[in-house]
């Protein structure tokens, strides 16, 4: 494939994919989506970058070590179960609140969303660990992102 096409597509699509992944993760509680599919979608964004620009560039864009992402996700998910315990309810019970936002009937926020964010991070971290791991030692002469 013509690398110019590939590069252009990747440069345009990766941010879009990431954005979509976040939208999916956030909206998941009420309409199709969720942390799992969101995390996978985010991983495809980085996979696209890797196919276009090579492994080092994708790794650089990820910024954080994938295993750290997964670990952070686990911690976030664990932590999201703690607040209900302080109310004397079982671990991981949902707590919901409605933040007043002018012009709407409020923004729904809750600990299950935090939990889903944790799942998002775990899935992204693990998928990237697979992808970057298997691509180790790939051609490193591919042009950098900016070029």
């Amino acid at each position: 494939m013509n690398p110019v096409v590939m590069h252009t597509v990747a440069r345009l699509m990766a941010p879009v994919l990431l954005l979509v992944s976040l939208v999916l993760a956030v909206r998941g509680h009420d309409i199709p989506g969720g942390g799992f599919v969101g995390g996978l979608m985010a991983a495809t964004a980085f996979a696209l970058l890797m196919v276009a620009f090579g492994r080092p560039a994708a790794r650089k864009q990820l910024r954080v070590h994938p295993t750290r992402l997964a670990a952070a996700g686990l911690l976030v998910a664990l932590f999201s179960g703690v607040p209900p315990m302080m109310q004397g309810r079982p671990f991981l019970s949902g707590i919901w609140a409605r933040l007043p936002v002018p012009g709407t009937d409020g923004l729904k926020v809750g600990t299950p969303q935090l939990f889903d964010l944790g799942i998002y991070l775990v899935v992204l971290g693990t998928a990237m660990s697979f992808i970057l791991g298997m691509a180790r030692g790939e051609d490193t002469t591919a042009p950098e992102m900016g070029g």
Partner: protein, 776 residues
């Protein structure tokens, strides 16, 4: 109010070591070579506090608290500070203080001193927890904390093979014992209906009269004997000497190995006093005592000699508990204290000698008293106590033991056994505590001029401990109330009235004492032939040691043969094994549950669904028959996408979305794998079973799905999810609500598995190529 404060303080005391452990790395970084002194403030503060509780304790005050922890299971966070706990707590924190100070100098140049302190203090917390716990499960948790921290500390020099091997052995033996203990404690709890220790003791004969008594006893003994290195489980203790010396002094002589003895003492009001208890404890204890002393003489390494001598003492303590008379319990408590003092000293002395001369081999050491005067003085006091010479505390303890043996059911035969055991200990004390310091010539790996006294941090501990042995020998009444309290807690009120005196007059016990000195002196005088003889016999390579080696290598052989069969490196075989297992289990379930023919699904099929189905079939066939790997991958991808379409048709947008993204990633991963790993060209020889197995499994699954589809699916669970999603889960997307709310705990477990597998893959590839580079 004062009572409330006291209970709170007790609760805080429980957590102090854990807090100190968490801060250890930070403090070590901040205070560098002064870290030992700073960290010692934690145990020192605890020791002072526990010391301050003694007067109230003597008055009969027993602070205790019970907080619900897992109330449904009867597991409480219950602490209780009785006499026995107080004695042990004082030993743990007092010795702990000195060992922490000592380690600060001993390991001053160690690169991970902070981590060392963390584990050491964690151990201290576990040990303190064991003696304070008033709930068997809390005790068990703390018990395992000590097992684990001991494992880490034994293997602290993890770059050495010996350290790793010893750590593994200690963990295998003590953790297996821990499992046995857990079952024993649970059985006991089931029998009396409470997990509270004081509650169990209050039921007095309930456990002893139970038909399960013997099972409970044996299981508990399994825990106690492994922890306290009784025959035949003693083999891990000498190996544990690969730990840094402060650890040996603290864990493997003064505290952790006493946990087993403590447990037996704690439970003796519940389990003790029966024929099996008396027989097993007396026999095992005496055997351990005599053999330990004998094995001690077969070595010249200071720490090994001390380790086997410790085994011997632990045997003596168990034997005394087995006797169970008032006198023997009093002797046990007294000797336990005396031993902690002198053995702690001698280990620290051995560490100093090693540190200053570079060797621990007695054969190369002599005349050190001039070079290390303070260390030598401490060593002299401790070894005299170990030999049981007046006016040291060891003498007081030993006399009590002889008296207890003579008066108890064991009588003269037991007393003779004890005499022989102590004879061996006398010889060991002479070899370890006296020989390196006496005499004239000095030969060591370092030139003599460079050998000098250890720094203050390293002689303060041994000197104080040695001095304590001397002071308590001279004024034994100072510690008498505390020991009396502890005896009563073990043996009930009839074990009260302990009278400690240095001089008992000319009694049979004194005769036995002299006898053991004569035996010990003789063994020491004949040390060369004894050493040769024991080495020729090679005792430690028989019996339990051989059994351990055989079972370990058997286990490894078993697992490697299983690996050869199941993990032979052929992907083909993996798939066959997986499919066959899966299909076999499914078939079993089908035969058992779904015998009848499914009642057919009467649903019309739409034309576009047929198109997708045909596409799926075509893609599947293409993936199988294609000659090119890339074509197969793409065909599989197409199959997956077509499947996603089916999900869309049947109203499962979540599934469809996930399926699409998963397919995309899978194709990328496949492409990566095929571009990087050698792929054998497709074999096109048709083998009937490679086709039959997948077809059979696929058929089975079809069969099951038909069954599922033809059974009405209105279960209570589905209804619950459908009706409760909005009110209870506050979400319209039922799938997501199930995942993040109703069954969030499952999801958390799955996420953990996922993250772990990611870590595994990362490590696998890291090992393959860039082990040394830290970047991904």
């Amino acid at each position: 109010m004062a009572c409330c404060l006291l209970v709170m303080a007790l609760c805080i005391a429980f957590f102090v070591p854990f807090i100190a452990a968490a801060l250890a790395v930070l403090i070590t970084r901040l205070f560098k070579s002064w870290a030992g002194w700073v960290l010692a403030l934690f145990p020192a503060g605890l020791a002072v506090w526990f010391g301050a509780q003694v007067p109230a304790g003597v008055q009969g005050e027993v602070p205790s608290l019970t907080l619900p922890w897992m109330p449904d299971l009867g597991i409480d966070f219950a602490l209780r500070l009785d006499g026995l706990s107080l004695l042990m707590a004082l030993l743990i924190t007092g010795l702990g203080t000195l060992v922490v100070i000592y380690a600060g100098r001993y390991l001053v140049h160690h690169e991970v001193l902070g981590r060392f302190y963390g584990w050491l203090l964690l151990f201290m917390g576990g040990m303190l927890g064991i003696v304070l716990a008033d709930n068997t499960l809390l005790l068990f948790v703390c018990w395992e904390v000590t097992t684990f921290s001991s494992f880490i500390l034994i293997g602290f020099e993890h770059k050495e093979d010996a350290a790793r091997e010893s750590a593994q052995r200690a963990l295998l033996i003590t953790a297996l014992g821990g499992q046995s203990l857990l079952v024993g404690l649970l059985l006991m709890g089931d029998e009396v209906g409470t997990l509270s220790i004081s509650g169990t003791i209050a039921t007095s004969d309930a456990v002893r009269d139970s038909p399960r008594y013997l099972a409970i006893l044996l299981l508990v003994l399994g825990g106690a004997f492994t922890k306290s290195a009784q025959m035949p489980f003693h083999t891990w203790l000498p190996g544990a000497m690969t730990a840094p010396t402060p650890v040996s002094a603290y864990l493997h002589s003064a505290t952790m190995v006493k946990a087993g003895v403590f447990l037996l003492a704690r439970l003796s009001p519940v389990l003790g006093g029966t024929p099996p208890w008396e027989t097993i404890l007396t026999l095992v204890g005496t055997m351990t005592m005599v053999l330990g002393a004998l094995l001690a003489l077969g070595h010249t390494d200071l720490k090994l000699v001390l380790a086997y001598a410790t085994v011997s003492v632990l045997g003596a303590l168990v034997m005394l508990l087995g006797q169970g008379t008032a006198a023997s319990i009093q002797a046990m408590v007294t000797f336990l204290t005396a031993h902690a003092l002198y053995k702690g000293t001698l280990f620290l002395v051995a560490g100093s000698v090693d540190h200053e001369t570079g060797t621990r081999d007695v054969a190369h050491l002599s005349g050190l008293r001039k070079r290390l005067p303070m260390t030598a003085a401490a060593s002299a006091a401790a070894s005299l106590s170990m030999m049981g010479l007046p006016p040291l505390f060891g003498f007081v303890g030993k006399e009590l033991i002889y008296e207890a043996c003579l008066e108890g059911p064991g009588g003269w035969p037991l007393a003779m056994g004890a005499t022989v055991g102590f004879g061996g200990m006398v010889a060991a004390a002479l070899r370890v505590g006296v020989q390196p310091f006496a005499g004239k010539t000095f030969r060591a790996s370092k030139p003599e001029s460079k050998v000098h006294e250890a720094p203050p941090a390293m002689w303060v501990g041994p000197a104080l401990l040695g001095a304590a042995g001397l002071v308590l020998g001279l004024v034994p009444w100072a510690i008498q109330p505390l020991l009396a309290m502890a005896s009563v807690d073990i043996g009930g009120s009839q074990a009260g009235g302990l009278k400690l005196t240095l001089w008992h007059g000319v009694t049979p016990a004194l005769g036995l004492s002299v006898g053991s000195l004569v035996i010990g002196g003789g063994l020491f005088a004949l040390r060369q032939p004894v050493l040769k003889g024991l080495r020729a016999l090679n005792l430690s390579n028989h019996g339990p040691e051989r059994f351990y080696q055989a079972s370990l290598s058997g286990l490894l052989k078993l697992s490697s043969s299983m690996t050869r069969v199941l993990q032979n490196g052929s992907l083909h075989q993996y798939i066959v094994v997986t499919l066959a297992t899966f299909g076999g289990l499914l078939a079993l379930a089908v035969v058992l549950r779904l015998g009848e023919w499914p009642r057919g699904v009467s649903k019309y099929v739409l034309s576009h669904e047929v198109v997708v189905l045909v596409g799926i079939l075509a893609a599947a066939v293409l993936a199988v028959v294609s000659r090119s790997a890339l074509t197969s991958i793409l065909a599989l991808g197409a199959l997956g996408l077509a499947e996603a379409l089916l999900y869309v048709f049947f109203g499962a947008p979540d599934l469809a979305m996930t399926q699409i993204v998963v397919q995309t990633l899978t194709v990328i991963l496949f492409a990566l794998v095929f571009s990087r790993f050698p792929v054998h060209p497709h074999e096109h020889r048709f083998r009937w079973w490679t086709a039959a197995l997948p077809l059979a499994v696929g058929g089975l699954i079809t069969w099951i799905i038909l069954h599922v589809a033809s059974t009405p699916s209105h279960t209570r669970l589905a209804d619950f999810y459908a009706t409760q999603s909005v009110p209870a889960g506050k979400g319209l997307n039922i799938v997501n609500v199930i995942l993040v709310d109703f069954r969030a705990f499952d999801t958390l477990g799955e996420a953990t598995v996922l993250a772990t597998s990611g870590l595994g893959v990362y490590l696998l590839f890291r090992t393959r190529s860039q082990r040394k580079k830290r970047q991904v």
